[in-house]
């Protein structure tokens, strides 16, 4: 596989994406062979099934898009789970036309608080976002009394998350819109250049005149906003908000970003990779559930696949000077 990638003369950024895409195809083929032998059908290749998977993948994809932006500036956002949950809970609690603006506002506000703490107080992002996550959890526990909120998602939220237009799930459109914005920022806007520059060396970016602290705040704001969007969609999809609804999105989002070839230390990575990473994780999950794999086996396979893929292309260079 690496010989093939070498033969095509792929750049350092494209190689992981190509290999991840190959891996994606391999999972599809393996899953299809399995279902063909066992059930005599190939649901993995039917457009309806794939669209359904993409609809579920949209939630993870949107979270991962924001996560990628903060990972590119060599930070991380661990507050995503409860930012997402808080946005979802407040959206259903407020209801009406203000549901979605409130949710997005909460995501944005949490992101800005994260950014301020990390950029101006210089607290490591790992621990500051962890604290913010705990605070958001505390606020929501106090707000709901520890019970599942009884409020329901608004029709607009439901329509965005669960309904279809021209046979294509609306959630997919939201995902595409978020993706286009992120790609435009990363590839076309000066902000994108600044993000990569900070990820490579913040001091150098600062000396080159980039307002690195402002950019850091913006990146965390983007990440918070995407968590808010994902919260709106997830609440719409399951009709309500519930405790811990965001917990299942943090580590897979980080994994998707890294599998897609983005350097966890920042400064390198393409959005296409993140997209493929998300689809890979979603497909892997669905193949494992088709195979009736118990949770134990799923977790183990999930971990092994991440290690395996990173062994193929995610190895960092030896530090020698």
């Amino acid at each position: 596989m690496s010989a093939l990638a070498g033969g095509l003369k792929l750049s350092r950024e494209d190689r992981p994406i190509a290999i991840a895409a190959l891996f994606l195809v391999a999972i599809l083929i393996a899953g299809t062979v399995y279902t063909w032998v066992r059930f005599g059908s190939a649901p993995l290749l039917s457009p309806t099934y794939l669209l359904l998977q993409l609809q579920i993948g949209a939630f993870l994809g949107i979270v991962a898009a924001g996560m990628m932006v903060v990972i590119l500036i060599s930070q991380i956002d661990l507050s995503t789970p409860w930012t997402l949950t808080a946005a979802a809970m407040m959206a259903t609690a407020v209801g009406g036309p203000w549901a979605i603006p409130i949710a997005l506002g909460i995501g944005l506000a949490v992101g800005i608080v994260n950014g301020l703490g990390i950029a101006y107080l210089r607290v490591p992002s790992m621990i500051f976002t962890l604290g913010v996550n705990a605070v958001m959890r505390g606020l929501m526990v106090a707000h709901t009394g520890g019970f599942a909120p009884q409020t329901e998602a608004t029709p607009l939220m439901r329509s965005l998350a669960a309904e279809r237009t021209f046979g294509i799930p609306n959630a997919l459109f939201v995902w595409i819109a978020v993706s286009v914005v992120i790609v435009l920022i990363l590839r076309r806007a000066p902000l994108g250049r600044y993000i990569y520059a900070i990820g490579n060396k913040e001091a150098a970016a600062y000396l080159a005149g980039v307002q690195t602290r402002v950019v850091t705040v913006i990146c965390f704001a983007i990440c918070g906003l995407t968590a808010g969007i994902a919260g709106v969609l997830l609440a719409g999809y399951s009709q309500k908000a519930y405790q811990g609804m965001g917990d299942a999105y943090l580590l897979p989002a980080i994994a998707a970003v890294v599998i897609g070839g983005t350097n966890i230390l920042g400064g390198r990575g393409r959005y296409l990779g993140t997209l493929i990473g998300v689809i890979l994780i979603v497909l892997l999950n669905s193949v494992l559930s088709i195979m009736d794999m118990p949770e134990a086996g799923r977790q183990a396979i999930y971990g092994s696949v991440i290690i395996l893929m990173l062994l193929v292309y995610g190895r960092s260079e030896r530090v020698t000077s």
Binding site: M126, A134, V319
Partner: protein, 370 residues
């Protein structure tokens, strides 16, 4: 001598603040507790803190190398599940067998009685140590960033734990549970030493909680020698400047392997104790995640820098103590349970933001970007 002490104090400023903070908070706790300063309260507190303290020590070692171990909670949980099979203390012994993909593997029989218990405990600690070694091998030979490598291995450990205990269950020998989760006096009377704990010289010590003694023993017998060894110093050097450490001819790969292995051992100790304390095994994923995140918080509060190079596992023990004492306080002051998570989060946030004082003192902005 005086200036020497001043230098050491300045070098360990984070640790010193942690200890002082803990002493003040814990003194306040005992003063306001109706049964303060009693052995029973001490025993209860040390039981609640032991596992987190071990997991925080496990987290410290990778953090000193500017890495992060997201698998500590999972590894601890896996060992906990193993322990619920291997430390039952069944008199007839425990047959070791498992089904793996439909194949039945047998490994002989674990003897019953005390030798079996000790052997089972050793095996459990060994499993934790092996898990740490696996982390180290993925990081060193796979050259994958620790945070993402341990994210993956953590999923594998949780998978194994779930395979062992799909539902919470299992059992730990009652005597073992009693001996290790009470005061030294009870320990002596359970294992029949010092005239069953009635020896006159032993009486002044009988109130000390056994978990506390274990914690101090592990810190003194395992951590302190490690820190003074070449590998230990290499860890600090890697955290300060890996390139410089390499150029100085330090055995970087070996030190990293040893560091992760040691972290695995600490996590294993935490898992064994959690099993003993709860007398069962439980593959609880949220709990594993909470332990991992709390371990990071404990490490930071204990004065270890996430950028690596400074701090110590002793500090992390105090970090874990502070974290737990905060939650003890909620019980006395009758704070509504619903507000407790909020206060915990706010205290954590404020505690880590205090380090922002550094930012105010910096004169050259470039020094910010370290």
């Amino acid at each position: 001598m005086g200036s020497n002490l001043a230098i050491r104090l300045r070098q360990n400023f984070g640790l010193a603040t942690g200890i002082v903070l803990f002493c003040v908070v814990y003194l306040g706790y005992h003063l306001s507790h109706p049964k303060g300063f009693s052995s029973a309260v001490l025993v209860q507190n040390s039981n609640e803190v032991f596992t987190l303290a071990m997991v925080a020590m496990a987290q410290t070692v990778p953090v000193l190398m500017a890495g992060l171990d997201l698998s500590v909670g999972a590894l601890m949980t896996m060992v906990d599940c193993f322990a619920s099979y291997l430390m039952t203390g069944a008199a007839a012994g425990t047959p070791l067998a498992m089904d793996f993909i439909g194949i039945r593997l047998t490994f002989g029989t674990l003897p019953g009685g005390v030798p079996g218990l000790l052997l089972g405990m050793l095996i459990c600690l060994g499993i934790g140590t092996l898990g740490g070694l696996l982390n180290g091998m993925v990081v060193v030979y796979g050259r994958i960033q620790p945070i993402i490598a341990t994210l993956a291995t953590g999923a594998i450990y949780i998978g194994v734990a779930l395979h062992l205990r799909p539902q919470p269950g299992g059992k730990i020998d009652d005597d073992l549970n009693w001996a290790l989760t009470n005061s030294l006096g009870e320990f002596a009377s359970t294992v029949h030493i010092f005239d069953d704990g009635a020896a006159s010289w032993f009486a002044p010590l009988a109130w000390i909680p056994t978990p506390f003694v274990l914690l101090a023993l592990i810190a003194l017998v395992v951590w302190v020698p490690f820190r003074r060894s070449v590998a230990g110093r290499t860890i600090y050097a890697i955290g300060s400047a890996e390139g410089a450490a390499y150029m100085s001819g330090l055995a970087i790969d070996r030190a990293k392997l040893i560091a992760f292995t040691l972290g695995g051992f600490f996590a294993g100790c935490g898992g064994v104790f959690l099993a003993i304390q709860t007398s069962s095994g439980n593959a609880d994923i949220p709990q594993a995640g909470a332990y991992t995140l709390n371990s990071i918080a404990a490490v930071v509060i204990g004065g270890t820098s996430l950028l690596g190079g400074t701090g110590s596992a002793i500090g992390s023990i105090f970090g874990a103590l502070i974290l737990r004492v905060i939650s003890f306080f909620f019980r006395i002051f009758d704070i509504a349970p619903l507000l407790q998570p909020l206060f915990e989060g706010l205290i954590l946030l404020v505690a880590v933001s205090i380090s922002a004082v550094r930012v105010l003192r910096i004169k050259n902005t470039l020094e910010l970007f370290r």
